[in-house]
Structure formats: structure tokens, C-alpha cells
Symmetry: C2
Subunit: 217 residues, 2 copies
Amino acid sequence: MSVITIERKVLEKNDEVARANRELFNTQKIFAINLVSSPGSGKTSILERTLAHLKNKITVAVIEGDVQTDFDAQRISALGVQAIQIVTKGGCHLEATLVKEALSHVDLSNVQLLVIENVGNLVCPANYDLGEAMKVVVASTTEGDDKPLKYPAMFRNASVLIINKVDLLPYVNCKIDLLKKNALSINPSLHIFETSCTTNAGIAEWCGWLEKNIVKP
Amino acid sequence: MSVITIERKVLEKNDEVARANRELFNTQKIFAINLVSSPGSGKTSILERTLAHLKNKITVAVIEGDVQTDFDAQRISALGVQAIQIVTKGGCHLEATLVKEALSHVDLSNVQLLVIENVGNLVCPANYDLGEAMKVVVASTTEGDDKPLKYPAMFRNASVLIINKVDLLPYVNCKIDLLKKNALSINPSLHIFETSCTTNAGIAEWCGWLEKNIVKP
């Protein structure tokens, strides 16, 4: 019972810092998304394609969360985009305090879009508000069509579902209509996009939708 | 600081129950494996192929761990194998106590192999001993070749790595030699198998190795 109480206190403390982060984003007119998925679903690849598409139109900053390594921040920096890496050293999710600390290293002036790429984990990050405007969950076709039912909290708490790796549909045991049906049964208000980072399919549609949410200067 | 102390106590309590589970397995001559991976790597499919291969040779029981749904236990039961589902209702990993409780519903007489399929999560289950003889980590080629470096604890704590979905190698951005090199850089003593549940490649090799670890009556 004491553990439950402490977990609740941890979440309360997290939500307090998340509220402060959200206020900062609102004041500075920054649209912040929290990108979540299983390991290897293609979050960083989608982010690379998104940055290539929005370049010269939108000023973006990225906070990368990983258990270990700064590979992802290196990939984003290579595109000339401001990127900060949080290494959790075993931690299974980002918390609002870690994001707050990372923000102190980001030049937020002119930033219109902040992407926070969470640790690859379809369970724990669902419960941690970072102050984002919305969670965007990526599910790849290779993971199968049953994941929304097996990991419902993440799909319930997300506003957008990106179904990635649609180019692999001919080779995998995944019915995309069933995947969408399962996701919508958990969360009927999900906006769904279908993408491939190999063929670039769906990237323009996703970026177009994203742009509409960004406050123009 | 208090949270760290409590986490340590939780792990100590877990390890105590894990030791009791391990003693039970040793006394009853049951070889127990803890099957871990990201969501959608193919743990249940590998288990189905393994059961089909070992059927009529080895008596197997299965404990399935999922955040939600009993789909996996249904799939295993359909093969005529004793299967118990643990639904963690949001919990991100199995703990030794949950396994102990599940064991009270399993008829262990004659069981030679117990497979505990953990929650799909490449982070949290790494730290929880369930009393198993070894952890077997599944990584699919679709997740990319960098996962051992990004999620090192799981690969460090596993004895076996099954690289699954090798049939998809021509279509994905994953160099299998680099994946193996990365895994062995984290844990040089890993036994590595390469499988496909679509073509059945590598299943005989994996099952052959598994059989050698099982105590014959």
C-alpha cells in the first residue's frame, strides 16, 4: 500500500512539473508533441522524414529520450536541427522534470514545434504527462494488428496514431483495417495516418496535419 | 532518495520469491525460461513453432504475461498445451510473486519445460528475476540492428538471443551481422539463433538446443 501512495505522489509531482512545461509552451506558442512507441517502430525515421518535409517552413527543436546512447540526437543534429539527448540510464520513460532540465539547454526563441521522442516502450510512457499538447503513438505493421488491445493505455492517451512500415504489409501477418478498428475501439477520436519511411508514403499527409496545429508567427 | 530505497526493497522481496520459484523448478526438474522482447517481436509465434516441434517429445506448460487480454494464452491452449494467463492490468513486467500465484494453477507433475512469456517491453522485465533458468530475448530484424546498444540491460541479462523475422531482411534496414556484433559487444556469451516463423527457418536449431537443457525423466 505504501508503494502505491508513493507512486501516486511521484505522479502528482510529475503532473505539477508537466503543467509548468505546458504553460511555458503556451506562452512561447510552441506546439509540443510526445512521440511514443515500441522499440524499433520507426519514431526517429518518421521524425527525420518530418523534419526534411518541414524544413525551411517551421522551426523545430527535438528532445531525444533513450535508455542508453545518443544515436538518435546525432541523427537529428545531422539534419541541422537543434537536438538534446536525455539518457535515462535504465529508466523506462521520460518524466516532466527530465524534459524541464533538457529545456534549459534548448534555445526556444523562434521554436514553433518541439518534438519529444520518448524511450521505446509501449507501456510506461503512457502514464507520464510531459506537458505536451498531444501524444503521437507509432505502431508498425510488423508488430501485428492486436497491439492496441494488448497495450490499451497508450492508444487511449494518444491523439494521433501513425501506422508505419506500410510498405511491409505484403510480407507480414497484419491486417491494417483490423489494426485501425482495434485502435478506434480503444480510442474513437484517434487521428490515423499510414506511413512508410522507405517509400515516403503518407509523410506529406501527416506533416500537413501537423502544420495546421502549429501557430504561425 | 526514499523512492530508491523502496525500489530496492521491492527488488529484494522479488528476488526472495524468485529464489523460492527456482528451488521449486529445480526440485521438480523443470527447465524454466523467461521469454522477453519488445511488443510484436514474435515471442508467441516462436512459442507456437517451438511447441509444434517439441510436441510428443517434451511436456510443456506456459505462463503468459500481458498488460491486457488473454489472446496469447488462447493461442497456446489451442495447441493442447497447458497455459495460464497473467493480466497485469497496466503493469509493465512480470514479478516473481505473480509467477508464484500462477504456478498454483498449473499442474506441474510431468512438466519438463516451463515457458514464461513476459509482457512485451524491452526495458523493465530485464530487472526482475522470476526464478527462471535463463532469459531468452527475441529481437526482430524489423526493429533494426542498434537495439542491443540502446537497451543493453536486457541483452546483458539474457543467455539466448533469438533474431526473428529473418525472412524480412531483404526489405528492412537491418544488417544482421551488425545486430549480432552489437549484441555480443554487450554480452559475449549470448547463444544466438536466427529464426522465421513464416518459413520455419532456424526453429529446429533453437529447439534442438533447448532440448539439450531439458532434464529427461
